[in-house]
Symmetry: none
Subunit: 196 residues, 4 copies
Amino acid sequence: MTLDAIFEATIQVLVADGPYRLTTTRVAKRAGVSVGTMYQYFPHKHSLFYAVNERYLDVLAEKLESFCQAHRGASIEQMVAGLVKTYWSAKAERPEVTRALYRSVAELDNEVLIEAFGRRADAATAAMFGSATDADFADLPTVILTLLSSIFGTVRNVFERDLEAAQVATLLRQLRLMCIAYLNAVKMPSLKGDAE
Amino acid sequence: MTLDAIFEATIQVLVADGPYRLTTTRVAKRAGVSVGTMYQYFPHKHSLFYAVNERYLDVLAEKLESFCQAHRGASIEQMVAGLVKTYWSAKAERPEVTRALYRSVAELDNEVLIEAFGRRADAATAAMFGSATDADFADLPTVILTLLSSIFGTVRNVFERDLEAAQVATLLRQLRLMCIAYLNAVKMPSLKGDAE
Amino acid sequence: MTLDAIFEATIQVLVADGPYRLTTTRVAKRAGVSVGTMYQYFPHKHSLFYAVNERYLDVLAEKLESFCQAHRGASIEQMVAGLVKTYWSAKAERPEVTRALYRSVAELDNEVLIEAFGRRADAATAAMFGSATDADFADLPTVILTLLSSIFGTVRNVFERDLEAAQVATLLRQLRLMCIAYLNAVKMPSLKGDAE
Amino acid sequence: MTLDAIFEATIQVLVADGPYRLTTTRVAKRAGVSVGTMYQYFPHKHSLFYAVNERYLDVLAEKLESFCQAHRGASIEQMVAGLVKTYWSAKAERPEVTRALYRSVAELDNEVLIEAFGRRADAATAAMFGSATDADFADLPTVILTLLSSIFGTVRNVFERDLEAAQVATLLRQLRLMCIAYLNAVKMPSLKGDAE
DNA sequence: CATGAATGAGGGTTCATTCAT
DNA sequence: CATGAATGAACCCTCATTCAT
């Protein structure tokens, strides 16, 4: 489908030439359509860029949601491990694309997108952790905000500092450790906690 | 001094108009100098941009270093609390500037800058935590990388999601909690630890 | 056609304003197109300039070739007279253009063009004089080089010194005389030469 | 002396960077003076350029004049040989300078200079050939014009086509031959001519 | 609907020239 | 007088956007 071709072309140009060289002509050519056609789908360059980000965050949110949905009732340790893995895998699948999008964010006023994504991630994660069989939290929203900020932020840092594979593996392990230590520190003492 | 005026003008334009609208003419006008003068100090737009970031990261690194220097031999709890506070304060001093610079990163190949900053932060923090009187770590570099990634990442997330003051305060408290929980989880059992 | 308009505009600007004032905007305006359009045909100013020269030399070379082709087997006197006339006529057709192009040479690294033109002129002229019925030359290439250098150089001098019509006519007559005297001086005594 | 330094610097920049990169700052720096000082000697760039050319042509004219002065009463063969040699040597002494100046001519309206030079060359040469002991010419001015146009033009052609040393030597020999053949063809039959 | 040539505002950069020191 | 930092008009070139075909 034309639209998909345009999206993919945008990402490819972004990765290959950087946000600075992302021109409508270049994208159109790579997508195999004319500029005119592209303007039928997107009224201006900005909207194209916006749509690409929207789509990207949408897919990401879906992955998180589907993971959270599937792991209700698990242990917080499983949840944390899975959450980190899910988020990292989604980002690491196409690292250059991830990096390119991280860097291209400047171009658009995407606060709306980020907020929407944040809300979805918060909600899904909160629902999952709320169903944990081995822990309860007095202020779940705060816990979730802390957890996600830490995970998302750390992952972003990895890409920014361009760490080596070995370092990344270690860091992700430590990240899990950190999150679990945190959750255990803030969870309420409960009967459920007996199994520990 | 002219140079400072240019720096400040760059930041102001960045904040007011965004990286996309950062043009040499605009910066020059706001700095109260001619384009020609600007080009006497910076061989091209890029270098101006780069210099601003370099300066910013330099100040940031210095603040971290001076804090770390001053708190050798403290407890890990004090270190964590101070580290978070120092980093956050530096970023929150001029929030719009911080946000503007976070977003402008895309424009320049600043991996070198980020790496240099990372190394300085790593070194200073490692030296401090290595001197902690109440904890020892088997793999200090990894612990530091994790700690800083988490702190830096989380702070960045705060700016990206544009959280409210109250949320921020809570989140920072939780962040300290999380870091301490992590450090306690990974520290080596030691004689020094007796006091715990 | 747009392209021809651009060529002609370039020449006109060159003539009217000189090579120093030949700007892309000026050419575009005179050609009745936008700068953007010009850049669709020529990747940069230089290439436009180059193309104009190329075209000019190409036409010139063709005229020489066609004359030489048509006068094989003639007498050297006819050849010389025709050669001078052909070259001069081509140059004198639009004297200001000729002068403008002579002066604009500095702007472009046109050694390649000049060499190419030189080779074509050499080849055509050599073929013609090689077929002369009343003379043979021991070292034809050298004779041709001398002949053409002298003719081309003299003509250039005329334009540079901006001689009056009467002087020009006289000079051209003398030039023919000089060339013929030279050829007679260097030609081999031969059976063909009997008629002399 | 400062002025000489500026002249030499101009030429060096011209040779090293081409007429396009000849900027006042660059010349001043190479001359070891400030732009301000340069503007004390030359009211604008153009005048500097003009002066350099003037000086160059002046030296050239002097060489021709002094040769012509010294060879009054010689044979036309000696005159021609010496004239070609003198002119060529002057040009070939610093070939890059010659080439650079040939190309830079476009920048300035130097018709005046060229005319002045032409007149001096004409006068000197005419006086010399008028004193030849072995030939008389009915229309000396025309003969001189032809002779000089041919010599000057041919030499220029050599630089333009960038011929090899061997070719150059041959060409110069032929040029002498051509000039002598011409002079012999147009000289008046005279008693002086007996020696022939 | 698709095309892609045409547009031209606006960007980065240069450099002849000035003038306070 | 010499200096060289400051100026800003003007240059070359790009690219988002339009619209006749």
